[in-house]
């Protein structure tokens, strides 16, 4: 039997840009797109957009969740590299390191929940860098004022007309669109971000790792 590679929806884009590649939990993912130096500079001075699609993703319904694990709606908690996002009163998502689907499922099982895997169904685009807000303000009609939508916030809306989940941490924003629309969203973000120094980058610049976030679980 052959072991086939898993690819993100941005594989074509990254191939066309001559990205360097790295294997992460069976995924072929771009390590660098514009080169380490340019990406590092954009990360510290402008903004970067990184394909974090291999991030493990599961969904579960709230009524399946054990008491004590609930979060307020539209909030997230992250510990030990795993994040629990409450999207709606009756819908949670679990995020974890690439390849951690089974671990996440076990955790969900321990809470009495039956999870559904979403890893391949949803892309994950990481927007980081000091000017990322300037990209977002051109991309969505959402109120993303940082004093109102702080770290640990979870929103569902459209970004460039693409339905998305947006998960905010202290140092980045994670956009989770469905896989089939991810390339469109990626292109639109890069287009509007051109003026504020946004560049496509790879996981060599910011590895796929969720940021600790205080919360309930």
């Amino acid at each position: 039997m052959t072991t086939l590679a898993k690819r993100t929806p941005l594989a074509t884009f990254h191939r066309a840009r001559g990205a360097s590649w790295v294997s992460v939990a069976g995924w072929e993912v771009a390590a660098h797109v514009e080169g380490p130096t340019a990406e590092a500079r954009a990360c510290s001075e402008g903004a970067v957009l990184i394909d974090w699609s291999p991030l493990a993703k599961l969904s579960l319904a709230s009524r399946q969740l054990a008491p004590g694990t609930e979060l307020p709606p539209r909030r997230a908690a992250c510990r030990d590299g795993r994040a629990l996002l409450r999207l709606a009163p009756d819908e949670y998502w679990l995020l974890g390191a690439p390849g951690d689907e089974e671990g996440l499922a076990r955790w969900a099982g321990a809470q009495g929940a039956r999870p559904y895997e979403l890893t391949g169904a949803y892309a994950a685009l990481l927007l980081a860098g000091p000017r990322r807000d300037e990209v977002l303000e051109r991309s969505t009609a959402l109120d993303l004022r940082r004093d109102r939508v702080g770290p640990g916030s979870v929103l569902q809306s459209t970004v460039h007309a693409v339905p998305c989940v947006l998960y905010r941490s202290a140092s980045w924003d994670l956009l989770l669109p469905s896989r089939d629309r991810a390339e469109s969203l990626h292109a639109a973000l890069l287009d509007v971000g051109r003026g504020v120094g946004l560049v496509a980058a790879g996981v060599g610049t910011l590895p796929i790792q969720l940021e600790e976030q205080a919360g309930g679980h």
């Binding site: 594989a11 890893t119 109120d143 007309a161 896989r179 089939d180 390339e183 287009d191």
Partner: protein
């Protein structure tokens, strides 16, 4: 043309010292400019008197208000037409061109209009050239060529210009960075709110930056933050305030951003460059000030006639001596301050013409007296003298005869102020005349919308600051606005009269060249209401949208119609407040529209696929030759990407019940591991969808839908689950799973070595499904197909899309495996007589007429569409969908052409293609049931009008027994 003097010092005002920054060209002439110069100020400093030609009469026009409202200073900059020269900053190397003149600005042949048009009847274009009838098309062409301002650059060089929509959500949005706006912003920020300040000019301070008066707070300043401004010159005070605003962490200043609309719910739209800012604020403070009142007299449009604020701006902001010899026309102390400013700049002031019988003893009046400047009380300007520019003015008593000519090259109109009410009044009722303040004022404002500053009527800077501060605090706390108050000395208690000298060059609307004589004539014709007058004469419909003339038009209409001044009212004020380009409103480039791509999209593109849009999806139509692809499937093996199909998984106790309710045939007899073709109908029994239902394992069903209906069916199912409180877990696996269909007689041979299930016909017959592993990838295998060949549909995790596609093509190479697109699939399905909902059906299609009645079991159970299907079941359909075949060599008709029998239209072709396998044209057509029998000849009319003959066939044209499919 001699350059005007650039001042280095002024006795009363600290002039800015702006360095030279370069030069641009104006109609080929080099124009030097300094930092902070606008195009207009640089032109004016260079001695340019003629900026443009007026819209209708092509009269010479020059700088008038210097505020960026009027059409007098419209120029074309680097190919972009209708740029306001008194707003646009001068930049190195730009190419500025005059417009609306031919062959040149100085010698404009269309200036003949100035002589001819006044001889024509009012609104002549509505009344003339209509008889004889042949004349109008010619006249219209000529009128259209003569009309319009500027010329759009269609060369495409701006195709890459970027238009962005940007969003802001402040607590308080302040529109206007003058004294009141600055104070309001600081006040709201001090109350702990996030503030967004929109200022249309590059620097904060507003016109107060040119104000010589001292700030005095007659009462307590209202805030310690303002206390230190008491006693400062107004320009110093606002500069200090502006610095504080800029330094405040909780105030975002958008300089150069012009708010052009305030909609309901405090939604403010602003433009900066090519960016559109959409601002949603809890409170909006409109403090966008006032502009000079427009005075109507004979030849009041001549170059050399400027407003008071334009003069202040020229001297105080651009250090330009505006003229050699000036006359100031006024009715308030402000005119005297301008006379003093001009005197200090070296302009000889020939007189101050004051409409008041007694100018009083204001400090500014006394200062003018001390300078020995002649004051002419109780007088006003009756006419301007000159042809291409101002030579003199004729002044006389406010009422009565007797005129005096005063030679001058500059006439300054400082006759009071008109509040800029558009943003406040938009959609909220018409402004009303406030006789006490001598201005129009905005109607009652809704909660959350506040007005501050000169927009409430002119006042001294101290009062404007105080009012702004109080309004800002109220806006921050959501309180009602404090009452606006004005001191008696703030009002211009006597307006200078619009002296009617009887000529035809009293311009009321400068943008559209509408004169008082035209207004009078139109009123006599019955257009005696301002709204109808506006539409008949185009008054206020020009570039400034009435900002300059709204007050003058209202008061002159009242005067001419004999109505009291109190009853004067302006026309309805609507967005946008300033001209906005279509690009800004349209937003981002169309190429960025959202498209959905399958996991294998990149591979299709690399193979040179031609894509088609299927809703938002991009699907490969073909890879170069659809007929060859279809032939490859029939003769060998083909692979098509069907990832766009909807994929819904249902489990739970009520899953079968839900499907039994939504589908016209129940699924309770569908055994695990089996697949069934289904249709779906609406409540009215109309067929709108088909697909397959698979019983994956006991209690778990998998529904595949057409590409276009996937999202709607998912939403429909979710709604019914909630509505009926069903125990169903519904998962939309559309984005999660890729799907391909491997089609052709060799498909089993290709797959069998690599899957862990028995693919033999006995173990895995037609219309079955299995879970399996293929190349170590978990897959769902469905023995179904649309092509009529032995086929396997493979659904698998989307992340393996590319890899498994590549793997299959590689393994299939020895079998002649060829990828095929949607177009080949359409040919193949027509060879089998399969319909596509939405292509071969319409909004009236019954499943019985479409030949898929076998998918409907009406019975006794309840399901969507039952009532209609039960009624139709017993009736013979009026129309039927039939397959037809053309004679070999016959041209293939386009989809949608009509079908005739005898001389009667009996139907239409829904799909037709040339069949490579059959060597002839085939298709589907809706025809009257009387002509649906096999063997009936159909006359099909081609798009070019020729008729071709087709024959109705009873079964699928290709493999009618389905042996290949079930093989």
């Amino acid at each position: 043309m001699r350059p005007r003097v650039r001042l280095t010092a002024h006795p009363d005002f600290p002039l800015p010292v702006d360095p030279e920054r370069g030069a641009f060209s104006f109609d080929g002439r080099r124009i030097p400019f300094r930092e902070r110069d606008t195009i207009a100020s640089a032109l004016y400093a260079a001695g340019v008197d003629l900026f443009s030609r007026s819209f209708k009469y092509h009269r010479p026009r020059s700088l008038y208000d210097g505020h960026g409202f009027g059409a007098d200073v419209l120029v074309t900059v680097d190919g972009a037409p209708n740029v306001l020269a008194d707003r646009a900053p001068a930049r190195e190397g730009i190419d500025v061109r005059s417009q609306n003149a031919w062959p040149s600005l100085g010698f404009d042949l269309l200036a003949l209009n100035d002589v001819v048009v006044p001889l024509l009847p009012n609104g002549f274009y509505y009344k003339m050239f209509h008889k004889p009838r042949w004349l109008w098309p010619i006249a219209e062409r000529g009128l259209r060529r003569a009309a319009g301002l500027g010329r759009i650059d269609v060369s495409g060089r701006d195709a890459e210009r970027r238009y962005e929509k940007r969003y802001r959500f402040p607590d308080v949005c302040v529109v206007g960075g003058g004294p009141a706006g600055l104070a309001a912003a600081l006040s709201a920020a001090e109350a702990g709110r996030q503030v967004l300040l929109l200022e249309s000019r590059p620097e904060l301070g507003g016109h107060a930056l040119c104000d010589l008066q001292c700030v005095t707070f007659r009462e307590a300043p209202g805030a310690t933050a303002l206390a230190d401004l008491d006693g400062l010159a107004a320009h110093e005070a606002v500069a200090r305030l502006a610095a504080r605003v800029s330094a405040a962490a909780s105030i975002e200043v958008l300089a150069g951003a012009t708010a052009f609309a305030v909609y309901e719910d405090n939604y403010v739209a602003a433009q900066r460059g090519s960016d559109l800012f959409k601002v949603r604020a809890e409170a909006v403070v409109v403090a966008n000030g006032a502009s000079d009142r427009h005075l109507v007299f004979e030849r009041n449009d001549l170059p050399g006639i400027v407003t008071g604020r334009a003069v202040e701006r020229l001297v105080c902001r651009h250090a330009i001596r505006p003229g050699a010899r000036a006359v100031v026309v006024t009715a308030h102390a402000g005119g005297y301050r301008i006379a003093r400013l001009l005197h200090g700049a070296g302009t000889a002031v020939a007189g101050v013409v004051d409409g008041r019988p007694d100018p009083g003893s204001d400090e500014a009046v006394e200062a003018v007296r001390r300078l020995g400047i002649r004051i002419l009380p109780g007088r006003s300007v009756h006419a301007a003298v000159g042809r291409r520019r101002l030579r003199a003015v004729e002044v006389g008593p406010v009422a009565g005869a007797g005129r005096e000519r005063i030679d001058c090259d500059l006439a300054v109109i400082a006759a009071g102020f008109s509040p800029q009410l558009s943003l406040l009044a938009m959609g909220r009722g018409k402004p009303r005349w406030d006789a006490e303040r001598g201005v129009f004022r905005a109607p009652e404002l809704p909660a959350g919308l506040y007005a501050a500053g000169e927009v409430n009527g002119p006042a001294r800077t101290g009062r404007l600051l105080r009012e702004g501060w109080d309004v800002g605090a109220a806006a921050a706390q959501g309180r009602p606005a404090p009452a606006s108050a004005r001191a008696p000395e703030d009002a211009v208690w006597l307006l200078p009269p619009d002296v009617d000298r009887g000529g035809s060059k009293h311009f009321v609307c400068r943008c559209m060249d509408v004169t008082r004589a035209e207004m009078r004539c139109s009123i006599a014709e019955g257009y005696d209401q301002l709204e109808t007058l506006k539409r008949f004469t185009s008054l206020g419909m020009g570039h400034c949208q009435g900002k300059t003339c709204y007050e003058a038009a209202a008061r002159i209409l009242a005067l001419e119609a004999g109505a009291p001044a109190d009853e004067a009212e302006p026309t309805t004020m609507r967005p946008p407040f300033v001209p906005v380009s279509f690009g800004v409103l349209a937003g981002r480039a169309p190429h960025l529209r959202v498209v959905r791509r399958t996991p294998m999209h990149g591979r299709h593109a690399e193979r040179g696929a031609r894509f088609l849009h299927a809703g938002a999806w991009l699907r490969p139509a073909d890879y170069g030759d659809a007929a060859a692809e279809a032939r490859a499937v029939r003769e060998g093996l083909g692979l098509i990407d069907v990832s766009t199909l909807g994929k819904l998984e249902l489990s739970g106790r009520d899953a079968a019940a839900l499907l039994g309710f939504l589908l016209p045939r129940p699924v309770d007899r569908l055994a695990p591991g089996r697949v069934r073709y289904h249709t779906m109908v609406r409540e009215d029994g109309v067929l709108y969808e088909d697909g397959t239902t698979s019983h994956l394992e006991p209690g778990t069903y998998y529904v595949s839908t057409t590409t276009g209906n996937a999202d709607a069916i998912y939403a429909d199912m979710a709604w019914w689950i909630e509505r009926r409180r069903l125990d169903v877990q519904l998962r939309n696996l559309g984005p999660a799973l890729a799907a391909v269909n491997l089609s052709g007689m060799g498909s089993r041979d290709l797959l069998q070595p690599f899957v862990d299930v028995d693919l033999s016909n006995a173990a895995f017959p037609y219309m079955s499904c299995r879970s399996a592993r293929l190349a170590d990838v978990p897959v769902r295998l469905f023995r179904i197909g649309f092509t009529g060949e032995l086929s396997y549909e493979i659904h698998f995790p989307a992340e393996y899309g590319e890899s498994l596609w590549d793997w299959l093509l590689e393994r299939g190479q020895p079998h002649g495996l060829t990828p095929f697109g949607v177009e080949a699939q359409r040919i193949l399905r027509l060879e089998k007589g399969h319909l596509i909902p939405g292509v071969d059906t319409d909004a009236l299609t019954s499943p019985f007429g479409a030949g898929v009645g076998f998918t409907c079991e009406v019975g006794d159970r309840d399901f969507v569409g039952r009532a209609f299907l039960a009624r139709e079941r017993g009736q013979a359909p009026r129309d039927r969908l039939v397959s037809f075949r053309l004679a070999p060599g016959t041209p293939v008709p386009d989809d949608g052409v009509l079908v005739f029998a005898e001389d009667r239209m009996i139907g239409r072709v829904t799909s037709a293609r040339a069949s490579p396998a059959l060597g002839t044209g085939i298709g589907l057509a809706w025809v009257a049931a009387s002509h649906a029998a096999a063997g009936t000849r159909l006359r099909i009319r081609l798009a070019d009008g020729r008729d071709v003959s087709g024959e109705v066939i009873a079964q699928a044209p290709y493999d009618p027994d389905g042996k290949r499919l079930r093989g």
